[in-house]
């Protein structure tokens, strides 16, 4: 008991002493550095109180921890001080002009309360790094760093258990690649406000109307394309998987042809065939009134050509995973070939086929080159974006439209994936619980 009394008294003394030092230092230093219009009692009180809170935390809590933790705590104070007070060249440089001294105080408070929670503290550091180190790409950096931090947190924990950092290293390397993909997109997404997007899509002017039409045209054609490919590609995939005729390998290779060919070539080939002046196009037009070039049907044709390998490949993989013996058993139980296909094969393969549909839809809606050769009008979104970029230049809406396009694709992509995946929710829970676990105080 005596010991504890003594140490309590010692701490109180120490706290009092340092408080005086801080107060005096602040008065002297700030009075000299601060611009006259900021010298107010409120500012002084805020800074001083946050400093004292930091100090209190050090003396009463952090001092019970190992020495390196104490050193880190003090070091962090120095770093914050340097960032916000000593080094920062101007108020505008940090947080878009928000007062840096106030921020300094805020972060002192945050640090002293979050220091014993490594996970939360990490989020704070991510926030700081995003806004201080890359101020011009702050939003993009913040999003990506947060993702990075979450995964690294979970992986470090896993690596500690397996005693192998190979997976973690691979993730870090892979993330560099992912950055190349995500950084431009996130940065682009952050460059327009939601209001801009709203105006561009829902406004009442002619431009917004054109955008809505293009958007609708894109969704329609991509969906029709997906249905067409679904109806014809799935049988093709099943045939390629279950048959064994001599030319199968050649046919198998041909399926990939649309991926290898440059899309404009595809567009030219289609235009060459079904253009109004071409024999087939003229015949279709003359006898059936079917016009393919500069028509949604032509767009669907081009998109079908471009996107069919994705569905066929996915469906083939899915069918390959279905043991033919299951089909045999179904037959012995009395089901005919068609009944077997719909009751056994398809239910087991639908997930893979659905994934193929997602890819096909994505490829179809994103195609520009083949579509633009076949149909300049009606506009699909990629064509409209390109036209805006070329014709309107700086005043064009291409950036806004591009963001709309990203949003559309990402939302559809995500929703469809969720539909297809039973494990998504479990994984999300796992990541969060892992991150949560590591925030417990190490003993």
């Amino acid at each position: 008991m005596a010991d504890r009394d003594t140490s309590t008294r010692t701490r109180a003394l120490r706290f009092a002493l340092w408080s005086v030092v801080f107060a005096a230092g602040e008065l002297l230093w700030l009075a000299r550095v601060l611009s006259p219009d900021l010298r107010s009692a409120t500012i002084y009180a805020l800074i001083l109180s946050s400093n004292l809170f930091y100090l209190y935390n050090l003396i009463y809590h952090i001092s019970l921890r190992p020495r390196w933790v104490q050193a880190a705590y003090v070091g962090w104070y120095v770093a914050l001080f340097a960032l916000f007070v000593a080094v920062a060249p101007s108020d505008r440089w940090v947080f878009g002009g928000t007062h840096r001294l106030l921020l300094f105080g805020l972060f002192l408070l945050l640090t002293s309360s979050l220091f014993h929670m490594p996970t939360a503290f990490g989020f704070m550091v991510v926030l700081l790094v995003a806004y201080l180190v890359f101020p011009f790409f702050a939003e993009a950096t913040l999003v990506l760093l947060t993702i990075f931090y979450l995964i690294v947190l979970a992986e470090v924990r896993a690596a500690r258990e397996t005693r192998s950092y190979l997976v973690l290293t691979c993730f870090v390397l892979g993330f560099v690649l992912l950055l190349a993909v995500l950084f431009p997109l996130v940065n682009l997404g952050a460059s327009r406000s939601p209001q801009d997007l709203r105006t561009a899509l829902l406004g009442s002017d002619a431009a917004a109307e054109g955008t809505r039409a293009a958007m609708w045209m894109s969704i329609q054609t991509a969906t029709v394309t997906t249905l067409v490919v679904l109806a014809l590609g799935v049988p093709m995939a099943y045939f390629l998987v279950r048959s064994d005729f001599p030319g199968r390998r050649v046919l198998d290779a041909l399926v990939d042809l649309p991926i290898i060919l440059p899309p404009p070539v595809v567009g030219i080939a289609i235009a060459q065939l079904v253009g109004k002046e071409q024999p087939l196009g003229a015949w279709l037009n003359g006898n059936f009134g079917i016009v393919l070039d500069n028509d949604w049907k032509g767009i669907v044709l081009a998109q079908t050509f471009i996107s069919c390998p994705f569905l066929i490949r996915s469906a083939m993989a899915a069918f390959q995973a279905v043991d033919p013996r299951l089909e045999n058993v179904s037959r012995t139980l009395g089901a005919g070939p068609l009944g077997t296909f719909f009751r056994v094969t398809l239910p087991l393969a639908w997930r893979g086929i659905f994934m193929g549909c997602i890819l096909t839809w994505g490829r179809a809606i994103s195609d520009f080159s083949a579509v633009t050769v076949v149909a300049q009008h009606p506009e699909t979104m990629p064509v409209r974006i390109y036209k805006q970029f070329i014709e309107a230049g700086e005043k064009g809406q291409h950036t806004t439209l591009a963001i709309l396009m990203i949003l559309l694709c990402v939302v559809v992509f995500a929703v469809l994936h969720l539909v297809a995946s039973r494990t998504v929710w479990r994984n999300v829970r796992t990541i969060w619980s892992r991150a949560g676990d590591s925030s417990r105080r190490p003993e």
């Binding site: 043991d323 013996r325 299951l326 045999n328 058993v329 179904s330 037959r331 012995t332 139980l333 009395g334 089901a335 005919g336 070939p337 009944g339 009751r343 056994v344 239910p347 087991l348």
Partner: protein, 413 residues
Amino acid sequence: MIRVVGLSKRFGAFQLRGVSFELAPGDYAVLLGPTGCGKTVLLETIVGVNRPDAGEVWVDGQDVTRWPPEQRGIGFVYQRSMLFPNLSVRANIAYGLRYHGVPRAERGRRVERVAELLAIGGLLGRDIAALSGGEMQKVALARALAIEPRVLLFDEPLAALDPPAKEALCGELAALHRQLGMTILHVTHDQDEARVLGKTIGVLRDGRLLQFGPKADVFDRPNSAFVARFVGTENVFAGQATAEGGLARIELGCGSVAANTPLTGRVGLCVRPELISIAPQALAADGTNRVEGKVEAVSDRGALVRYQVATARERFVVLQAKRDYAASALAVGQAVALGFEPDAVHVFPWEGDQNGGGVQNPIGPMGRMGPMGPASSPSARRARPHPSHLSYRSHMSHSSLERRCAPTLRARR
């Protein structure tokens, strides 16, 4: 009930060459054969998912060779149960009912009845993924039984199970057959399964049916060295037979033995290990035929003790009850005498050495070759790419299944 005539089929590496046999109604036939002998192809051809290159399949007096599998009414159970993973246990069992004119209202009752028969009522609501291997096989069996097939085909239904599950299911199959009296064709590579379950036994090799007949015939009177070896008769030798009185005298490397056979000339002979008595050389072993040799190895097989005895040229395997072993206490290296009656010697025409399945090859000068003869001496084993038919016994305990299924066996008798 089921008749197969001259069935031939080439299917990748597997081949059937003119397989013919006939099963009587209510028969339980087991086809034995090493891996790769065409067992699965045979079954798939009978069931109709393969079309034979030649030959006919008859079921219940109808030629079904050109029928699609869904019309043949043949139940089929694969080695790995092949349950439909997208359906529950109940839906799996009910799968075939709609195609067999069972009204919707009736289907549930039918499933319950089959499940009760196999004592899997508790599994009906479960997911396929939540079943053990034995349970899966039972569900697969129930699914096949639910459509009340005319014939049931089993493709190694016990091979993928662990020993206790195997034993249990083995007993249940026997009981089920007794209860329902179904015609069953079961293929396996395990002679112990055949011994416990089969009434009729066939032995397949390289797509040919070598022997097909009642169990006692095949097990006790194999018609070739391969069959003898495959059904577990380890003492298979070749010799020169001459008629002598009412018996035949066959010259072996280790002397001559008397046998009860009309055959003469070059013949093969086999003696089941359990029919040979063994005693120290000083004493007389029981039996008219006497062979002398030296104990090479003694191994404990549970109820039995297995001796390997090297004679002048051949190697004999002898199985002795453990109680007798305790009394005689023969050790490795001891000189012993083997005795057996002429009736214990089964003689069959010799067709030359058949790729390892033939004669128990003479022991070389060093006397150190394995039980498979020269092919399995260490250097030869390394040099040869492990013919599959050599592996079937090398790691298999002689009577493991027999022992495990002993209660069942007793019940059947």
